[in-house]
């Protein structure tokens, strides 16, 4: 593969509410057994990209822990490998990353040192599966300066948190609006870009000289009429998880047979850090319907239309419905949980009741763990 990968995983989003108190969005657990960044990392690995840099900033501890070894994604190689760049103080810089372009600019020596002619940029908060080789072929065929992977959203979708694109009949981007209140089109940018490495370095240096730090507004939108920016339409599953609703919905999507088959059974696979947990155990009284259960769970009661992440313990006579229970949660007996997302490593006392009425409720208790 003639490209390096860059994964932007530094952002925070207030629309994740309390869920982002603990971790960067890219480290959010997704689909029962994965973390969100696994999708971008596995796509790069499966596309035979050998060198990948992850740029982190906000609340990166949990993400760094997940990335502590690169072997799970097959990046433990002599050539290339997985690099994690946190903001750092140097002789001529003491800023945090001031934006996505600045994050890359502050690591420009890495970009200059690589020899691959192309760069693939992806955000770390999206769930998708793509072969970057096909995007690169398209990029070369169109003689594009920048290729943006884009997706047509459903007409009723709220596009005000996305970059919205309009293209001409040749797929050249003629309009790019960042987070518009009312949009002219329902095609959005997925935050995946391909461009020549030299081109990126030049644009980053020029933006930095002008004190401009955002890749979308200061590079994509600013250069739109000068450079050949093309859109690559992607029609398979893609979702951004950066709001509570979309996070919940993305997890629930895995209950659909086609989504499960696409991500769990069809090649290429999505990789993740292996946790060495025993198989899930179902005791007398367990009654699980239409749910995903990860390894290490122990179930003693009713679970319906829910996603249980790794190592969840469900006590007796509980009802768990339409909920997402994150890793390592202990749920005491006779507890009712409905329309909730339960934060990881939580302990819910027996005989409690949690129900999200109009919106999904986020449950976080900080109770002491029961002595089992």
């Amino acid at each position: 593969m003639k490209a390096i990968g860059i994964i932007l995983a530094g952002g925070n989003n207030s629309r994740m509410q309390e869920l982002s108190n603990k971790r960067a969005i890219a480290a959010m657990p997704v689909g029962g057994s994965y973390r969100c960044i696994d999708f971008a990392l596995s796509n790069m690995s499966n596309s035979h990209i050998q060198t990948v840099a992850v740029l982190t900033q906000y609340n990166a501890r949990s993400l760094n822990e997940h990335l502590s070894s690169s072997k799970w994604w097959d990046f433990g190689r002599k050539h290339g490998g997985l690099f994690v760049f946190n903001p750092t103080v140097t002789a001529d810089n003491s800023w945090w990353y001031r934006g996505t372009a600045d994050a890359m600019y502050q690591n420009i020596s890495f970009l200059k040192r690589c020899h691959e002619p192309y760069v693939i940029i992806s955000s770390g908060d999206c769930v998708y599966k793509i072969d970057f080789n096909r995007v690169l072929d398209y990029h070369i065929e169109k003689k594009a300066d920048i290729t943006v992977v884009c997706k047509d959203m459903a007409p009723e979708a709220d596009l005000s948190r996305f970059g919205v694109i309009r293209m001409n009949e040749d797929a050249r981007v003629i309009e790019f609006e960042e987070k518009p209140m009312v949009s002219q089109s329902n095609t959005i940018s997925t935050g995946i870009y391909i461009m020549r490495r030299r081109q990126l370095i030049e644009m980053l240096e020029r933006s930095a000289a002008e004190d401009r730090w955002d890749f979308v507004t200061d590079i994509l939108i600013r250069y739109k009429n000068m450079k050949r920016i093309y859109g690559y339409k992607f029609s398979d599953y893609w979702n951004n998880i950066a709001t509570v609703d979309s996070y919940y919905q993305t997890n629930m999507d895995f209950l659909k047979p086609d989504v499960r088959k696409y991500f769990f059974r069809d090649e290429p696979r999505i990789y993740s850090k292996v946790d060495d947990l025993p198989p899930a155990k179902y005791n007398t009284g367990s009654d699980v319907r239409n749910s995903l259960i990860a390894s290490g769970c122990i179930i003693n009661s009713k679970v319906e239309n829910s996603v249980l992440f790794k190592k969840v313990f469900v006590g007796k006579n509980c009802v768990i419905k339409n909920s997402v229970i994150l890793n390592d949660v202990y749920i005491g007996d006779n507890t009712h949980i409905e329309n909730c997302i339960v934060e990881s490593r939580d302990t819910l006392k027996a005989n409690t009741y949690y129900c999200g009425d109009k919106a999904i409720k986020i449950v976080f208790e900080n109770n002491e763990r029961y002595v089992l």
Partner: protein, 424 residues
């Protein structure tokens, strides 16, 4: 020169013929256990949990699965710059080339491997037991007693003692005598096939006995050391230990895992069992599924009913299918409306729709009543069972079978279908 205090030699070359069709294509240590594990994961995990980072695995019978399972030892943290795990198959030599003819002979042929690490002690393990044991505690005992050889032994009921090698020890645990499968046992301490030797003592014994045909630890090396007046001690172990050598004990040990709080608990934090997991997706239970008293591995999809069973990773159980008291291994696909009672189904099998397994009265197996008993249906790897047939108890099936193989759509209790080489 590198020196490791103790290295482990893990004997994993045996077929385990009493597991019948389960070990037709893989060595016994590679047979699945407990949903997602292989039998060899238990001694390997014990090694790393006990602080032993150098393990030689001796392979001989059908080693492919074992080799790919072990790889460079990543799942057990045995990928090391110095030491780690090394697979040791038999090899050709300039003078005499032979297979491993016995357990001790296999170690004798790998003296060079052991010498590379210049160890003080060598731990001999076998790859076919289910247990959690801290070998470091056993080593402390060995040092404390100034022993030359320490044999791990566990108390067994006296009436069963005649099935084991029995050690007779004094109050201080010093071994006085051995009895191999005695008719009237004088002690209930059974040898577990786990030994710690001072390397100098073992090396001397191996070299002295090198011409012994089928040189075996229990039969030759231990008696030799005893006769030479070495200090032999018995280390008493009282935890869970199971020899899963027969289909009955294999089935039973799996079933014990589904108790509310199993005697052998895989869910304890402090003594994890590691394995190579290439399937990591969560499992899916459909709207119509019922699962009770069972454990299920990663990525399985359950549309039917599962009771009292151990299900591996990547298994699909179809709509209206009922599985009871059974073991189903990795990537096996079971179609709709199948009834499965007390069966062991190995990897990558396909069971057609409306099949019934484990029905009718028991009858002794006509091929080998010793192996295929306990009322079990045993189905070997990569087997195919056509739709609509019914299969009785104490039966075995291996290979791609067709409706024509089942007279009147039925395999009677005690019958066997083995179609060799069909899957090639």
């Amino acid at each position: 020169m590198v020196q490791k205090e103790m290295i482990a030699m893990l004997l994993a070359g045996g077929q385990g013929s009493r597991l019948g069709v389960l070990t037709a294509k893989v060595a016994k240590p590679a047979v699945a256990f407990g949903g997602k594990y292989s039998i060899i994961d238990f001694p390997l995990s014990n090694c790393i949990n006990s602080g032993i980072d150098t393990v030689g695995v001796l392979t001989q019978y059908q080693p492919l699965r074992l080799n790919s399972h072990i790889g460079i030892g990543i799942p057990w943290d045995l990928d090391r710059n110095s030491g780690g795990v090394t697979v040791l198959p038999p090899y050709e030599k300039s003078d005499n080339s032979e297979w491993y003819t016995g357990t001790a002979n296999a170690i004798y042929q790998n003296i060079t491997y052991i010498e590379n690490y210049n160890p003080e002690y060598v731990l001999i393990l076998s790859g076919d037991h289910i247990y959690k044991m801290d070998y470091e505690v056993m080593l402390d005992f060995h040092k404390e007693k100034h022993a030359d050889v320490t044999i791990a032994a566990m108390p067994v009921p006296l009436e069963e003692a005649s099935r084991f090698g029995i050690v007779i020890a004094d109050k201080d645990r010093k071994i006085q005598e051995f009895e191999e499968k005695p008719e009237h046992p004088r002690s209930n301490l059974a040898s577990m096939g786990i030994y710690i030797f001072n390397w100098s003592v073992l090396k001397e014994a191996l070299c002295a006995m090198k011409d012994q045909s089928g040189c075996d630890f229990g039969k030759h090396i231990i008696p030799y050391c005893h006769d030479k007046g070495q200090n032999l001690y018995a280390y008493e172990y009282n935890g869970y230990w199971k020899d899963v050598g027969t289909l009955g004990s294999y089935w039973e040990a799996n079933m014990e895992l589904i108790d509310l709080i199993p005697v052998f608990n895989l869910y304890e934090e402090y003594w994890k069992i590691y394995t190579k997991s290439d399937i990591i997706a969560p499992q899916y239970l459909s709207s119509d599924s019922v699962v009770e008293r069972s454990i299920i591995g990663e990525g399985s999809e359950i549309y039917g009913q599962v009771y009292n069973s151990v299900i591996g990773s990547g298994v699909v159980i179809g709509n209206g299918t009922v599985v009871r008291d059974s073991i189903i291994m990795k990537n096996t696909k079971i179609e709709d409306h199948v009834t499965i009672n007390k069966s062991i189904i190995a990897r990558n099998c396909q069971i057609g729709s409306s099949v019934t397994l484990g029905t009718g009265e028991e009858a002794p197996n006509r091929l080998n009543a010793e192996i295929y008993s306990f009322g079990l249906v045993t189905i070997g790897e990569d087997s195919v069972i056509p739709e609509g047939v019914s299969v009785g108890k104490n039966t075995a099936i291996a290979g791609v079978t067709e409706t024509a193989d089942y007279p009147d759509g039925c395999l009677k209790s005690g019958e066997v279908i083995i179609k060799a080489g069909d899957s090639l």
